[in-house]
C-alpha cells in the first residue's frame, strides 16, 4: 500500500512539474500584461506537433531544442502583431483575442495534421523501466520528463534571482513605467517574456506529447487545468504556480487511483444507503470518476474564499 502511494505520488510529481512548465509562463505573462492567455495551452499543443513532424525528419533530440524555439518565435509574433494591437481596446478585447487564437490554432492543427491522434513516440533510448515499485514499472521517459522540468525550474529560478535580465523582468511586473524611464524597452521585455513563456509551453508539449497523447484536443484538455493552477496559486506569482502545480498534479493522479464511492464508504461505516431515486448516481460515483472535477471544485472554492489565490497580491 505504501509503495503504491509512493508510486502515485511520483506520478503526481511528474504531472505537477509538467503543469509548472506551462503555468510558469502563463503566470508571468499575466503578471506583466494583466491578461490571461487562453492560447497558452495552444503553444503547448504546437510544441508537441512540431516535435512530431521534426522528429520524423531529424530526430527527437534536435526536435527537443528546435520545436520550442519555433513555438517561442511564433509566440513573440503573436504578441508583437496581435496582442499589442488589441491592447488599446482593453483587457476584455485582449482576453477574447487570445481565445480566438486558441480556436484558430486548434483548427489549423486539424487542417495540417488531421483529426486523429498522432503516434508521437518517446525515443527508443528511453524506452525501458527505470525501476519497479510494487509491480509497477516507472518508465525512464517519465524520469527524463522530471529531469527536464526540474532543470527548467532551476533555470527560471536562477534567471529570476541571479541575473540582470531577471531583475528587469521583475521590475517590469510591478513598475513598468519606472523601468521605461530608466531606458529599457518595456514592450520588448513583454514580447520576450511572451516568447519565452510560449517556448516553455512548447517544450512542455514536446516532452508531454508521447505520454499524454498528441491530438487536436490536447490543448483544451490541459488548458483549463493550467488556468486552475495559475488562479489557485495566485495570478502573477511564480511560487504560487509552483506549489499549486504540484498540489493539483498529486491530487489528480492519486484521485484517479481511488475507487471509493459515497455508497461503499457509507456501507463500510455501517450506515444505511438508499440506493434508489433521482440521486442514485450520487451514491454510485467513485472518487476516480470525480477526479477530473476536483481541480475546478478547488478553483471555485479558492476564488470564493480568497479571490487573490494562495500567493497572489492582486485580483486582476
Amino acid at each position: 500500500m505504501l509503495e503504491l502511494a509512493l508510486f502515485s505520488l511520483l506520478n503526481g510529481l511528474v504531472f505537477g512539474m509538467l503543469l509548472f512548465m506551462l503555468s510558469s509562463g502563463l503566470t508571468l505573462i499575466f503578471g506583466m500584461m494583466g491578461v490571461l492567455n487562453f492560447a497558452h495551452a495552444s503553444f503547448y499543443m504546437l510544441g508537441a506537433y512540431f516535435a512530431y513532424t521534426l522528429g520524423a525528419s531529424v530526430d527527437f533530440w534536435p526536435a527537443l531544442l528546435l520545436a520550442p524555439l519555433l513555438v517561442g518565435g511564433l509566440g513573440a509574433l503573436v504578441e508583437r502583431f496581435g496582442l499589442r494591437r488589441v491592447h488599446r481596446f482593453g483587457h476584455v478585447a485582449e482576453l477574447i483575442f487570445t481565445f480566438g487564437v486558441a480556436i484558430l490554432v486548434e483548427e489549423v492543427v486539424q487542417l495540417v495534421w488531421g483529426r486523429p491522434a498522432k503516434s508521437y513516440e518517446a525515443p527508443a533510448v528511453l524506452d525501458f523501466a527505470l525501476f519497479r515499485l510494487a509491480d509497477n514499472a516507472f518508465p525512464a521517459y517519465k524520469g527524463f520528463m522530471l529531469l527536464v522540468a526540474v532543470g527548467i525550474f532551476l533555470f527560471l529560478f536562477g534567471v529570476f534571482t541571479r541575473t540582470r535580465a531577471g531583475l528587469i523582468i521583475q521590475a517590469s511586473l510591478t513598475h513598468p513605467g519606472m523601468v521605461a524611464m530608466l531606458g529599457h524597452n518595456v514592450p520588448r521585455v513583454f514580447m520576450v517574456v511572451f516568447g519565452v513563456g510560449s517556448a516553455l509551453a512548447g517544450l512542455a508539449g514536446v516532452i508531454a506529447g508521447p505520454v499524454l497523447g498528441t491530438f487536436p484536443g490536447m490543448a483544451q484538455v490541459l488548458g483549463s487545468i493550467v488556468f486552475v493552477v495559475v488562479v489557485i496559486g495566485g495570478l502573477g506569482s511564480l511560487t504560487g504556480a509552483f506549489i499549486a502545480s504540484l498540489a493539483i498534479g498529486v491530487i489528480q493522479t492519486s484521485a484517479v487511483a481511488l475507487d471509493l464511492s459515497l455508497g461503499t464508504t457509507a456501507a463500510s461505516l455501517g450506515l444505511p444507503v438508499d440506493g434508489g431515486g433521482a440521486l442514485q448516481d450520487l451514491w454510485r460515483v467513485t472518487i476516480a470518476q470525480v477526479a477530473p472535477m476536483l481541480p475546478y471544485l478547488l478553483l471555485v472554492l479558492v476564488l470564493i474564499v480568497r479571490p487573490t489565490g494562495l500567493f497572489g497580491t492582486r485580483e486582476t
Binding site: G90, V92, L95, I103, E107, L111, F227, Y296
Partner: protein, 434 residues
C-alpha cells in the same frame, strides 16, 4: 480587469426621458420586427431556410442574454451555456412528464419552464460568482462551466449519458388547438418567443437596475458611492441573463427534441461569446446581428467546406483586431455620414477596398482548401472543385496562383484601405466643420 471598459462598450443611450415621437418610433421598430418575423417564412421559399431560421431565433435569444452579462454588465463569462443547457434539460424532462394523464403543460409555455430552470441555477451559482467582476468572475464562470460539463458525464439520470435526453413535443397537451408538428409551426413559436424575450431584455436595459448594470460595469467604485451594491446589481443582471439563456434552452428542447452534454459544454459557451462579439457588444442589436450572421455562416459554410470552423475563427480574430465594435459598431460608425447625406461619396473607395479584400480572401481560401484537400484525401485523387473550377491540386500551378492572388490582394488592401479610411473621415465630419 478593473480598467475602464473600451470606449466602444461605454456607449450610453439617450436618457429614458424620451419624447413621444421617440417612443412612437421605438414602438414602430418593434412592430416592424414583428411584421418581418411573420412575413419571413412566406418570403423565403427555400425549404431548408425554416430550420435555419429556427436555429437563428434560438441563437438570438441566447446571444442577447449573454450580452446582458458581457456588454451591459461588463462580466466576461466562459460558462454561459450552463444556464442554456440546464434550462433545456429541465424543459425536456418536464415535457416528458407532460402528456395524456400527466402534467397539463402546453408546448408554448415550456420555454418559461426552461427560463425558470436557468434562473434557479443562475441564482445558485451567481450567489458566489458575482461578488467580483473581472478575472475572478471569468475564472469562476470557467470553473462552474467545467464542473457542470464534467458532472454531465457522471449523472446519467439527469443528463442521459452519451445519448442525451430525448423528448417529443407532439405528446404535450394542446393550447387553443395549436399544434407543433412541422418546422414552420415551431418557427412561429420561436419567433414569438424571440420577439417577446428581446423586448423584455431591451426593457430590462432601460430599468434602473439595467442602468446601474452599466454604471457598475464602467466604475463599480463610484456606483457603490452612489449607494448601490455592485454585487447585488451584478447578481440581478446575472439572474436575468440566466433566465433568458434558459428560455433559449427551452426553445432548443422544443425545436430539436434532444439535449446532450454538448449543449452545456465549453464549446457552446465559446460559440455564444463568438457570435455576441462578432455582432458587437456595445449595442443592443449587436448580438442579434451576430447570432443571425454566425448561424447563417455555420449552416452555409458547413455545406461547402470541411474547414468552416477555421474560417469562423479567422473571421472572429479579424473582428477583434480590426472591428472591435463588431458589426453593429461598423454600422453605427456610419450614422454621422448618413445624416450628413454623404454616404454616396464612400461607395467608390469602399467598393475598391472590398474588391481587393475579396481577392486576398479568395487567395487565402484557395490555399487553405488546397492544404485541406492534400492532407485529407488519398493521393490517388488529383483534382478538386474550387471556386467553380477543376483544380489539379497536386501540381505547383494552383498553389502559386492562389499565393499570388493573396499577396497581390494584400498589397491592394494596403493601398486602398487608407484611402477608404480617409474618405470615411471626410464624410463623417460634421457639416460646417473645416
Amino acid at each position: 480587469m478593473s480598467a475602464p471598459a473600451p470606449a466602444t462598450t461605454r456607449h450610453v443611450e439617450v436618457a429614458a426621458t424620451a419624447s413621444w415621437t421617440h417612443r412612437l418610433r421605438r414602438l414602430g421598430v418593434w412592430l416592424a420586427a414583428g411584421a418581418l418575423l411573420l412575413a419571413l417564412p412566406h418570403v423565403v421559399r427555400n425549404p431548408v431556410a425554416v430550420p435555419v431560421m429556427n436555429q437563428m431565433g434560438i441563437a438570438v435569444v441566447f446571444a442577447l442574454s449573454y450580452n446582458m452579462l458581457l456588454g451591459q454588465g461588463g462580466m466576461l463569462s466562459f460558462g454561459h451555456a450552463v444556464y442554456f443547457g440546464l434550462g433545456g434539460f429541465i424543459a425536456a424532462h418536464v415535457l416528458n412528464l407532460a402528456g395524456p394523464g400527466g402534467l397539463y403543460l402546453p408546448v408554448p409555455v415550456l420555454p418559461l419552464v426552461g427560463g425558470l430552470g436557468g434562473l434557479l441555477f443562475a441564482a445558485l451559482f451567481g450567489s458566489f460568482s458575482t461578488r467580483r467582476a473581472g478575472t475572478v468572475f471569468a475564472m469562476i464562470s470557467l470553473g462552474v462551466g467545467e464542473l457542470i460539463a464534467a458532472s454531465s458525464l457522471i449523472f446519467d439520470g439527469f443528463f442521459g449519458g452519451e445519448e442525451g435526453v430525448t423528448t417529443n413535443r407532439t405528446r404535450a397537451p394542446l393550447l387553443l388547438g395549436l399544434e407543433f408538428t412541422t418546422d414552420r409551426q415551431v418557427y412561429y413559436l420561436i419567433a414569438g418567443w424571440a420577439l417577446v424575450a428581446a423586448a423584455l431584455m431591451y426593457s430590462f436595459s432601460r430599468t434602473p437596475v439595467g442602468r446601474m448594470a452599466n454604471a457598475v460595469r464602467d466604475n463599480a467604485e463610484r456606483a457603490e458611492f452612489v449607494g448601490y451594491s455592485a454585487r447585488w446589481v451584478r447578481f440581478v443582471s446575472f439572474c436575468a441573463a440566466g433566465f433568458f439563456a434558459g428560455v433559449a434552452g427551452g426553445l432548443f428542447a422544443i425545436n430539436y427534441e434532444i439535449l446532450t452534454a454538448e449543449n452545456l459544454g465549453l464549446n457552446a459557451s465559446g460559440a455564444v461569446l463568438l457570435m455576441t462579439y462578432i455582432g458587437g457588444i456595445g449595442y443592443f442589436v449587436g448580438p442579434i446581428l451576430g447570432a443571425v450572421v454566425f448561424t447563417f455562416l455555420q449552416s452555409m459554410l458547413s455545406d461547402y467546406t470541411g474547414i468552416w470552423l477555421l474560417y469562423l475563427g479567422i473571421m472572429f480574430l479579424a473582428t477583434v483586431l480590426f472591428v472591435p465594435a463588431g458589426l453593429a459598431g461598423l454600422i453605427a460608425m456610419h450614422l454621422p455620414a448618413w445624416r450628413a447625406g454623404r454616404l454616396r461619396t464612400l461607395a467608390a473607395p469602399y467598393a475598391l477596398t472590398a474588391l481587393v479584400a475579396l481577392v486576398t480572401a479568395a487567395g487565402v481560401i484557395g490555399l487553405l482548401e488546397l492544404v485541406h484537400f492534400v492532407v485529407s484525401t488519398s493521393p490517388s485523387r488529383t483534382t478538386m472543385r474550387l471556386f467553380w473550377m477543376t483544380v489539379p491540386a497536386r501540381t505547383l500551378a494552383p498553389w502559386l496562383g492562389f499565393a499570388a492572388a493573396a499577396a497581390a490582394g494584400a498589397l491592394g488592401v494596403r493601398w486602398a484601405a487608407p484611402r477608404a479610411a480617409a474618405a470615411f473621415a471626410a464624410a463623417s465630419r460634421p457639416p460646417g466643420a473645416p
